[in-house]
Symmetry: C2
Subunit: 392 residues, 2 copies
């Protein structure tokens, strides 16, 4: 007999993957097709056979090789599936049914969890934008005139969003002045990614208050960046090849419900944003990030110090009538806090020191943790990647 | 009996939709699912039943609601399907089989022909980039330092690529200084779009010479642009909401083979581009464009005056190792020729006259024509759209 609300899964209770977390992912066992699972402790629950046995209406969504079908079902199904899974994992009487479908993480391969529709990247940390402004425009204003009026963003390449663990081949390209070769300033951007479940209609903005109706969950996100390629190409249409070679996301998508205890007031916005950006009651997320390079924690960016909120980014993205699709992904932009040990890119961490950029063989891991709804901490999906040499 | 190489389809021989054209599209009859057809004269050949009757290996690709499955088959299949269709439409002995599957255009609905993967937009017309530079930076150099070293480009929103005929709702958003309201400077960009069929591997650039191995065909493309929204938001990460509300493409995708007689030398490139951009033998396309506003031809941009070639754009897009997917779409950027009556945007046509921008109810159509392989002219798919008022 377990305490109500406590999981019977061995080793999971009190861990960072307890029943207050329950992130979704796509896994496979050797020789089998990938399908949807949920993480509990150090195991994956294979949802498809359990859902079929319990004749769940939406059992087919767990047989897919991405979370998109589940995400497309919308908020009510997302919430009721979570309640159902919580019951399975806390009610001892479900144990005989469920236990045979708990697979050790060590026995599975994990895959890209979503089929990415459009990928947008924002630039929502004031500290990051200020740092970058100071580095690139030492004599000008650190922030450009539009920065406090709207969450600046742009579209990235969705076809090169890869799963955590995918090796990153150093990109080759043009550098300032038209020189050509492998990037010499390969960088990371420690971000949080938001995944859209429920689509919206073309021509109809998604209001600020509809965030949780549309956003399914969050992923860890590393927006790999070649600073030298980016510096040469980016005027006047923005970053292109300096970013499009790879963006890594975590295997696990943490549903928005798991972050219910993580909402906090933003640091404050001045000037007050326009009404469509929901001024006055803007909430950020109290998520701690660790940037780990070759095993050493080099920085601890706090997501709660972001200037623009996740809901403001979504409202802005659609205010012109742009529609949302299931699988749309938007990144927060690099997360940097006010102190030097809270910076989310090597450009800022090194601040002019060229040796701060990535060398071949370097491994970067981003880790994320937040308050859980049961008083403890939950871990969000981590994102890792190793740099491979440029191709000859 | 018809002359060899002449179609037996009534009214098609000698038209701009003769057998030297044969664009693909997705059509439906009332109450039926959309599927793949090919245009001949003023009819659509319903390919699925004919391919099934002839037991074509790839007959299933014609039953899909987009061209992606056909395009994914690659260059050899693309070429052999074209040869097969040409045979069907020129050989009198096929007439009994084929004729029942020729549907008048008036009896069908046409749909978005492709499932768009990533959408990239270039800026490859020197005349357009120079005009825009002169309008926005009258005291600076018209072209930025990188412009003649690489085809400048950026990612757009693939989820809002819509089929010709889709009404365009005037977007609302922030304008310079943070004012808010419907765009007062709604514009067009007359472009050509290139559609990728054969994918490429992450980490492996697509060489300049592999253009026809990867590109399936071309579409007409209007990259609707809200100049006031764009002007305020675009530093430093490029255009976003000023573009992402809608991009229209033609119903018909003209296969690259139909443009075999349209290749022409580019005007010339100085400085010589880097080797990966295939300097020296760069070919453009001799495609004439007409910009029609409310029934009047207001401009005739010539695609042969572009600075960067379609193959250079593709080589640049992938030089950093970015992979291609079936359904990737890249636009040439606004096509503008050297003379005032060859400009591809209202910004340039009006040159400071605010009344040149689009009013609610305005209808814009882009028409395209090129030399065909039989000595005549072929029409590429046209793109049209009517402006609807901003939503309240």
């Amino acid at each position: 007999m377990t305490t109500p609300g406590t999981t019977w899964v061995e080793g999971a209770a009190g861990s960072r993957f307890d029943v207050d977390n329950l992130p979704y992912g796509v896994f496979s066992r050797a020789g089998e097709e990938p399908r949807v699972g949920v993480r509990i402790g150090d195991r994956v629950l294979d949802l498809a056979p359990v859902a079929a046995a319990e004749m769940l209406d939406v059992h087919h969504v767990f047989e897919e090789r991405s979370l998109n079908a589940l995400m497309a079902e919308g908020r009510r199904v997302r919430e009721s599936v979570r309640t159902w899974i919580t019951g399975l994992l806390t009610d001892e009487t479900e144990r005989d049914l469920v236990e045979p479908h708990l697979v050790p993480l060590a026995d599975v391969a994990l895959h890209l969890p979503i089929e990415v529709a459009d990928y947008v990247d924002f630039y929502a940390s004031e500290h990051h934008a200020t740092n970058v402004g100071r580095i690139f425009r030492p004599d000008g204003d650190a922030l450009l005139p539009n920065w406090k009026h709207l969450p600046v963003g742009y579209h990235g390449r969705s076809g090169t969003v890869v799963a955590s663990g995918t090796p990153i081949v150093r990109p080759t390209g043009q550098r300032p002045g038209g020189a050509f070769g492998p990037s010499a300033r390969l960088d990371i951007e420690a971000e949080l990614g938001f995944v859209v479940g429920t689509p919206s209609e073309l021509g109809s903005p998604v209001p600020y208050g509809a965030f949780a109706d549309h956003v399914f969950g969050v992923v860890g996100l590393n927006d790999w960046s070649a600073r030298d390629i980016q510096a040469w190409e980016y005027v006047p249409l923005g970053p292109f090849l300096g970013k499009s070679f790879a963006t890594s996301i975590s295997h696990w998508v943490t549903p928005i419900e798991a972050l219910a205890a993580a909402w906090v007031d933003l640091p404050g916005q001045d000037p007050e944003p326009l009404p469509y950006l929901g001024p006055g009651d803007t909430l950020g997320l109290d998520i701690d990030v660790e940037v780990v390079v070759n095993g050493d924690v080099v920085s601890r960016p706090p997501f709660r110090t972001m200037y623009w909120s996740p809901a403001q980014m979504l409202a802005h993205l659609t205010v012109n009538g742009a529609s949302l699709r299931t699988g749309d992904l938007y990144g927060s932009g690099t997360i940097s806090g006010p102190s030097p040990d809270q910076r989310g890119s090597l450009l800022e961490i090194g601040w002019g020191d060229e040796s701060a950029f990535l060398a071949d063989g370097d491994e970067v891991t981003l880790r994320y943790a937040a308050p859980g709804t049961s008083g403890g901490r939950i871990a969000l999906g981590e994102v890792t990647g190793v740099i491979r040499p440029a191709r000859g």
